[in-house]
């Protein structure tokens, strides 16, 4: 694209249209909608609006099949973020979004602006953001770029989130060679609003003023959405200028100014300028309200001289919002933005025409009917092939390790299980003083300010399961967030999804996408856990090699009484340790098989959703009844890792007796059967918990007690907790301080 001089108004040739990523059919549709050849500015607008990133053209056919409704869902997908009812006229507003492509090219700014963007999606709806989360995937630790990318992404997330004063309370980080060429940076934000103060983007009221607030528009980020809609090649580094630069200071001012503005009754509609900036915000506001927008681009606050309409409409400069105000309230609103030292400009008004009409230097440079631009955007039913499910591996077919203790230490000290404290200590996870469960547990928990309620949040996905079997993997990702939210005592309410896949034009990738969607749909339906917001990131591929399918799920649950919350750390010596759910030694696709045997194969553990629900509801009930002193879900690494993590969290040992039956100890202990939890209860409560489980047919087993300073499993192994702690704590600091 470097050869085209965008400052001129070139002839709109087929070649130029192609450079903008529009297909022949899309070109024809564009001309039909306009009834003429587009101007350059119009071509740019069509190009970004119909990019994969903005239009969801490959995915929306499938996304429509997800369950999105429940009595507690106030706004589902289609708004800036999902909104759920958390009682007392309050609402939780949340969404997760990807910033993968920019973060690979420029990790600090890519990740930072990912955080900024997702925060705006939440506060544009009237919410005060109260928590940030993230889901990060990096390439193999041995890959020469991994340290640089990890370090930059973590600093970027911290640099932005810390400054705006929203705690980054948790997340997940994985390493796998499938991400060597395409890392994933998925950021989630959760906000809190009053239900009668929720703001939407649909514009209304002919003659109402359209206001631009926030930072000035520069030339950064032009074509960012288009970049995120294509594969990477060797020259991707040259795309650095398409990465935006974040300014968290301005974002903080914008949050405060917008919250102040929205506490009045001046606002008709409000929308942040995210991907495709002024274009997508104005088109969405106009088409959503069935009205037209007439904008005078001369009035757009500009950072640089001589910007063209094309550049202004495609810029992805950060920290900007578009607001439609009630008439005669402009001066009053302006005072708020002057107080916060932010730009405030009336750039147009609502019209009856239904068109987005842009004027610049006295000429009309674009005049597009917004309804067809937004609603008739292309939609593809791309061909797909089903992923062949791999064969199940018999637990007896995996040879025993020489020494279970050594195997456990190796796993605990591996990149998969090592402590993430090096990461989360760079995030202010306590600002706002409501973080009541810190990173490192099953779910992060933040109090609803000034109440005893709290929200539990967890982001999860097991990409190796999704790669082996997208359907089971999709189910498992949803079920794991549900379990994690349950394990702190919260009732799971709804999810946001961030669906990261390779090139959708390849039938095998589309098959992964289709399978994962089916799995998510089934899990959400059975668990009564709807999807309220989300994002799709395709083309996570480099030179034809795609990432593992990664449908990251962000789950949110409600604790009516946060004082009932529990953590994974056992409280008292003598407490009884119990396992909920059946251990069958499912060894295929496990971390054990990968780390100890170097094999990535086999079918992932099947997810029985009815069983998930039954077991989870039981555990939650016992937590809320006050009978449980600690709880941890069993996931990656199976029972042995779950027990280890509990021992590490409390610095307490355990004396464990397991009945392996005919399953080898390593398959039993490291198997990743689903729908399981470890719970602890005082010796006086344990019998009651066991009877209660038996009464409702939930599998439960007393496996030992909390005691001493060793993790001891009878007839299998004994390891000092301090040795486990060393292995767990040292990997990441050592790794990050080593030269690659």
């Amino acid at each position: 694209m470097t050869e085209t001089n965008w400052n001129n108004n070139p002839e709109i040739t087929d070649g130029l249209v192609k450079e903008h990523g529009l297909s022949d059919d899309e070109q024809k549709l564009m001309v039909k909608i306009l009834g003429r050849t587009p101007t350059l500015t119009e071509l740019g607008i069509f190009s970004v609006m119909w990019s994969e990133h903005c239009s969801y053209k490959s995915s929306k056919l499938h996304l429509k099949t997800l369950p999105t409704k429940a009595p507690w869902v106030i706004h589902g997908p289609g708004e800036n973020a999902g909104v759920i009812d958390i009682g007392d006229n309050q609402a939780a507003i949340f969404k997760m979004e990807s910033h993968n492509h920019p973060s690979y090219i420029e990790p600090y700014q890519g990740a930072a602006t990912g955080v900024g963007g997702i925060l705006r999606d939440v506060f544009t709806m009237g919410a005060r953001p109260i928590a940030n989360m993230n889901a990060l995937r990096f390439g193999s630790p041995e890959h020469h770029k991994t340290r640089h990318l990890l370090s930059g992404v973590v600093e970027g997330i911290g640099g932005y989130g810390n400054c705006v004063g929203v705690p980054t309370v948790g997340g997940e980080t994985n390493f796998h060679p499938s991400y060597d060429g395409n890392i994933l940076v998925n950021a989630m934000a959760v906000g809190l609003a009053d239900q009668d103060k929720i703001f939407l983007s649909a514009a209304a009221g002919v003659g109402n003023p359209v206001i631009y607030v926030g930072s000035k528009t520069g030339r950064d980020g032009i074509h960012g959405a288009t970049m995120a809609s294509a594969e990477f090649t060797e020259d991707s580094e040259e795309k650095r200028p398409t990465v935006q630069v974040g300014d968290p200071f301005t974002e903080k001012l914008l949050i405060e100014a917008c919250i102040e503005l929205m506490s009045t009754d001046m606002v008709v509609a409000i929308q942040d300028m995210g991907a495709a900036g002024l274009t997508s915000s104005s088109v969405e506001m106009a088409s959503g309200g069935g009205v037209g927008f007439s904008l005078n681009l001369d009035n757009v606050p500009q950072r640089e001289e001589g910007m063209t309409p094309y550049e202004m409409m495609l810029s992805e400069s950060q920290e900007r919002m578009l607001v439609v105000l009630k008439p005669d309230r402009v001066e009053e609103a302006k005072k708020i933005f002057v107080k916060w030292d932010l730009d405030f400009a009336v750039i147009g008004e609502i019209t009856e025409s239904g068109n987005l009409t842009l004027s610049w230097q006295g000429n009309v440079v674009a005049d597009i009917p917004t309804q067809p631009l937004a609603d008739n955007s292309p939609e593809y039913d791309r061909p797909w092939v089903k992923t062949e499910a791999p064969a199940t591996i018999d637990p007896n077919d995996v040879t025993a390790p020489n020494d279970l203790a050594d195997a456990l230490l190796k796993m605990v000290g591996s990149s998969s299980f090592a402590s993430r404290a090096w990461i989360w200590q760079q995030y202010d996870h306590q600002v706002m003083a409501d973080t009541i469960q810190l990173p490192g547990g099953d779910a992060a928990v933040v109090r609803v300010h000034g109440t005893d309620k709290a929200l539990a949040i967890s982001t999860d996905c097991t990409p190796r399961y999704c790669y082996a079997d997208p359907f089971e993997g999709g189910k498992q990702a949803v079920a794991e967030t549900w379990r994690n939210v349950t394990a702190v005592g919260a009732t799971p309410m709804a999810i946001t999804d961030c669906l990261n896949f390779g090139n959708p034009e390849r039938p095998d990738i589309m098959g992964q996408f289709f399978g994962a969607i089916e799995g998510i749909r089934e899990a959400c339906t059975v668990l009564d856990y709807p999807v309220v917001s989300g994002n799709v990131s395709l083309y996570n591929e480099t030179n034809g090699t795609g990432i593992h399918p990664t449908p990251a799920i962000g789950g949110v649950g409600l604790l009516e009484d946060s004082r009932k919350m529990i953590t994974i750390a056992p409280k008292n010596d003598g407490d009884v340790v119990m396992v909920i759910g059946e251990s069958k030694g499912h060894i295929g696709c496990t971390e054990y098989l990968n780390i100890i045997e170097g094999r990535e194969e086999g079918a992932p553990p099947p997810v029985n959703l009815e069983l998930e629900k039954k077991n989870g509801d039981f555990v939650r009930g016992q937590i809320i009844a006050g009978s449980v002193t600690a709880c941890h879900d069993i996931s990656d690494g199976g029972l042995f890792i779950a027990l280890t993590e509990m021992a590490l969290a409390s610095n307490k040992g355990m004396d464990i007796n397991l009945n392996y039956g005919d399953i080898p100890a390593h398959s039993y202990g490291f198997g990743e059967d689903q729908a399981r939890y470890v719970i602890c209860a005082s010796s006086s409560d344990a019998d009651r918990v066991i009877s209660a489980a038996n009464a409702v047919g939930v599998a439960i087993e007393n496996i030992g007690t909390i005691c001493g300073n060793e993790l001891s499993v009878a007839n299998s192994f004994t390891v000092a907790v301090s040795d486990l702690l060393d292995a767990h704590a040292s990997w990441m600091p050592n790794y990050m301080s080593t030269e690659s």
Partner: protein, 229 residues
């Protein structure tokens, strides 16, 4: 106790400080915007944590030149109590009310974790609810908390008992490992000569309720209340 919290653009612990003061003193603090020139007559002014003006210049440098600072200065000269936490500590050094400077952490990274502090001098306006040598838990969250002062200043601070808190390990030893940011002499908080102004990097306002994981921060605020009685 009457108090006031000054908010600068991108202060972000102002609400936390405000809430802590309200909960512990039972009185709503005054909210002061950085452009206010009228500072009410209060017993305590708090400069909260955050990233005033984005910390794009030296941390606290811009805030130290805000219009409200004149009133804060006048309050200081009258002998009124002032606390600066985190960014607020940086502002106090930039105002010249406390000696030394807060440099980038030794690790060059932002650090957020709960650390142990030793109460070095329990005979002060800000520490009297603790006991001498008491080890308390308080969270830190900063990028620039590496306290530096010249040798003479350090000697004075040490000699005058003006070190309020020091980073220590569980046993109360000021070790290199227990120092989260590289501060000289493991200094976490200091006072001015007159004893009415304190700056500290850790956040006592984040640990005042059991739900937050402990109440070790309460003593800090209770000390100030005690000193007025």
């Amino acid at each position: 106790m009457k108090s006031a919290v000054v908010t600068f653009p991108a202060s972000n612990c102002n609400r936390d400080m405000f809430d802590a003061l309200e909960k512990i003193t039972g009185q709503r603090p005054h909210e002061i915007w950085h452009q206010d020139t009228d500072i009410p007559d209060v017993d305590l002014i708090a400069l909260p944590g955050g990233f005033s003006f984005g910390d794009y210049l030296r941390c606290g440098a811009m805030a130290a030149r805000s219009p409200a600072i004149n009133g804060v200065m006048a309050h200081a000269e009258r002998g009124g109590n002032i606390i600066g936490v985190c960014n607020g500590f940086q502002v106090l050094t930039e105002m010249g009310l406390l000696p030394g400077a807060l440099m980038r952490n030794r690790s060059l990274k932002f650090v957020c974790k709960t650390v142990q502090l030793k109460v070095e001098n329990a005979d002060s306006t800000f520490t009297n609810a603790y006991t001498d040598g008491q080890v308390i838990d308080i969270p830190v969250a900063h990028h620039d908390g590496n306290y530096f002062a010249d040798d003479q200043t350090l000697a004075e601070l040490e000699g005058d008992g003006r070190i309020a808190f020091r980073y220590v390990d569980q046993n109360g030893e000021a070790t290199k490992l227990s120092n989260p940011n590289g501060s000289q002499n493991n200094i976490a908080g200091i006072m001015n000569k007159r004893g009415n102004i304190l700056g500290m990097m850790p956040h006592p306002e984040r640990l005042i309720e059991d739900a937050q994981g402990g109440i070790d921060g309460r003593g800090f605020f209770e000390s100030i209340i005690n000193s007025l009685n």
